[in-house]
């Protein structure tokens, strides 16, 4: 099995586990959590994130900030599978005493920051990136935001800051699933062209099909960082930039009735519907990770 085949199958499996979690806890945001499945799967299983599951705050770990917290239920099965916590915890999601809530917080091993209020991740990530650079720690900081989240002004304060300070150990991944809660983004406030905006803020920008494991794998493979601190007089400074990845995704990916629904954010799937989706995947009727 090639690496790409492995990751594709893993992503399918994560998508099924995510749907199961939604069945256990229908209050979870399923559509938002299905769009970043390939991104998260490729990052964690593709070897692009340094981590120690038995020591989640290991100093040399790459920092992963999940700014779109509500839309990362799909990270729960990944973290459990990789040993951050027991897989038995997954079934207890949303139940009394469980640390797996509808919106993840750092009580969950593997989560770094408080999530749920949008727009904070990029600034905190920038602070961590500056701190790592000051420590000569070569770890990278990944931050996952939604495209609807880009409406928050604090995001742009952080983007300006990170570009100016040439934080090339910072990687922003935009899960561009094209919708926020009440409508498609283009109908709410159309901020495109996004790539040019980010570039004008001194970011390096890559666009990718966020459901293509192969494209994500190739892109993540190109990420390099320097361990040398960058100063304004350094020749390397002129080219050092943080990296923004616009991952074009589909909100509710894998659930046909959610995929084209501008209100998918607030849609809940009935248990029977989830079972049918999972069964159809298992029997090969629907290819959940089809491109």
């Amino acid at each position: 099995m090639t690496k790409i085949n492995f990751l594709e199958q893993k992503a399918q499996w994560i998508r099924r586990r995510t749907l199961e979690l939604h069945k256990f806890a229908p209050e979870t945001r399923i559509a938002s959590s299905l769009s970043p499945v390939e991104v998260l799967t490729t990052l964690y299983y593709g070897g692009f994130i340094k981590f120690d599951a038995s020591n989640p705050l290991w100093e040399q770990r790459d920092r992963v900030i999940i700014s779109k917290g509500h839309g990362s239920i799909s990270l729960y099965p990944i973290l459990a599978d990789l040993g951050f916590f027991s897989v038995c915890e997954l079934e207890r999601i949303g139940q009394e005493g469980s640390f797996l809530g509808g919106i993840p917080d750092p009580v969950i091993p593997g989560y770094e920051t408080v999530n749920g209020s949008l727009g904070h991740g990029p600034g905190v990530a920038a602070g961590m990136a500056i701190g790592l650079r000051a420590k000569n720690n070569p770890a990278k900081v990944f931050v996952l935001v939604g495209d609807g989240e880009l409406y928050e002004g604090a995001v742009w304060e952080a983007l300006m800051f990170s570009g100016h300070h040439r934080l090339n150990n910072l990687i922003l991944i935009i899960d561009a699933n094209k919708a926020c809660m009440l409508d498609f983004c283009k109908n709410v406030i159309d901020y495109h062209p996004l790539k040019e905006k980010l570039e004008s803020f001194r970011w390096r920008v890559a666009e990718v099909d966020g459901h293509s494991v192969a494209q994500l794998y190739d892109l993540f493979s190109t990420i390099t960082t320097t361990t040398t601190p960058i100063t304004t007089t350094d020749a390397a400074a002129a080219t050092a930039r943080p990296l923004a990845i616009i991952a074009h995704t589909i909100k509710g990916k894998g659930v046909p009735r959610l995929e084209c629904d501008p209100l998918s954010h607030i849609k809940t799937l009935a248990a029977s519907e989830v079972d049918a989706l999972i069964n159809s995947v298992q029997s090969g009727q629907i290819e959940l990770t089809e491109k």
Partner: protein, 316 residues
């Protein structure tokens, strides 16, 4: 006592010295300066960051640096530091600090009517009550430079989130090691009975402690029976505070902030209530409306009823 000094200068001078000894200190400013800040900017260009006029990012970057183990000072105009980015403070300096050790000290400059002629956008009457509302944030409200400066040293070794609310004008000292703080400031206890009385006691904070002392000790009307308690950190040791207050028959709270909404008056009212005390209680401060009158601080205080004559009027 002494030559009037600006708290900010004392704090920044001390921080400059501390930064020479401790390379884990970062100083972030939301484009706010100060004469004593220049030496920090010049000497520590890698650990001084001007984040620009961007308080939300100031707090988030501070949180990120603190997560990486740095001791971070985040400096801005008090009104904007506490209110522009209250949600950032709530999420990443209060909620997160319950789970992770975050050594962050927010330094807000210009509380109360420090920016007197600047008007209501700059008047800061809410910071104390809204910051007291958030769990896990230690607040220092110094009456003089000595207290403010001492807090910096204490804050460096306190592995949690702090808010230092600084007055913007020069003031003389009310504290001296010889007279009232032989063992130094105790930021866990948080208060000092600066003047012992037995009838009424004024409980105040920040620079209004000067006003309280003047009201109680001015030569013409000196009253031995009026006590003065300065609250310099929040929340103070309530048991000890009640024990002191309980020796008086009448408590007058005095603050340069809105009254009835969580400041000093509310704190003392709660304390009296918790002890089922029926003591006479008077609250003096800014009633809940903004002040558009242009004028200096004395003028605004008179308009608000926190001038000396008004305070003395309430003495029993």
């Amino acid at each position: 006592m002494g030559v009037p000094a600006i708290m900010r200068d004392a704090v920044l001078q001390d921080l400059f010295l501390q930064m020479q000894k401790d390379d884990k200190i970062f100083f972030l400013s939301a484009d706010l300066g100060g004469p004593k800040l220049d030496q920090i900017r010049e000497k520590f260009p890698d650990r001084f960051i001007n984040v620009g006029i961007a308080e939300q990012n100031l707090i988030n970057v501070a949180a990120g640096l603190a997560l990486e183990g740095y001791k971070v000072f985040a400096y801005a105009i008090a009104t904007f530091l506490t209110m522009r980015c209250y949600e950032q403070i709530r999420v990443h300096l209060s909620i997160l600090a319950q789970l992770r050790s975050l050594n962050v000290t927010m330094i807000g400059l210009g509380i109360g009517m420090s920016y007197d002629v600047a008007g209501p956008s700059h008047h800061c009457f809410e910071d104390l009550s809204i910051m007291r509302t958030l769990p896990g944030i230690k607040i220092c409200s110094p009456a003089d430079s000595l207290c403010a400066q001492s807090f910096v040293t204490w804050a460096l070794n306190y592995p949690g989130v702090k808010y230092l609310r600084l007055d913007g004008k020069p003031h003389s000292l009310v504290y001296s090691v010889d007279e009232n703080i032989p063992a130094g400031f105790d930021f866990e206890k948080g208060f000092c009975e600066l003047k012992r009385g037995h009838k009424s006691v004024i409980v105040s904070t920040g620079v209004l402690t000067h006003r309280a002392l003047n009201s109680a000790t001015a030569v013409a009307t000196a009253r031995d029976d009026i006590g003065v308690i300065d609250i310099y950190s929040f929340d103070p040791d309530f048991d000890a505070l009640f024990e002191t207050i309980d020796t008086y028959a009448h408590v007058i709270t005095l603050e340069e902030g809105f009254i009835g909404v969580g400041g000093v008056d509310s704190m003392i009212a709660n304390l009296l209530c918790d002890h089922q005390s029926m003591k006479k209680f008077t609250r003096l401060g800014i009633k809940k409306e903004f002040l558009f009158d242009c004028g200096g601080r004395e003028y605004l205080h008179k308009k608000s009823g926190i001038n000396e004559d008004e305070i003395r009027y309430h003495f029993d």
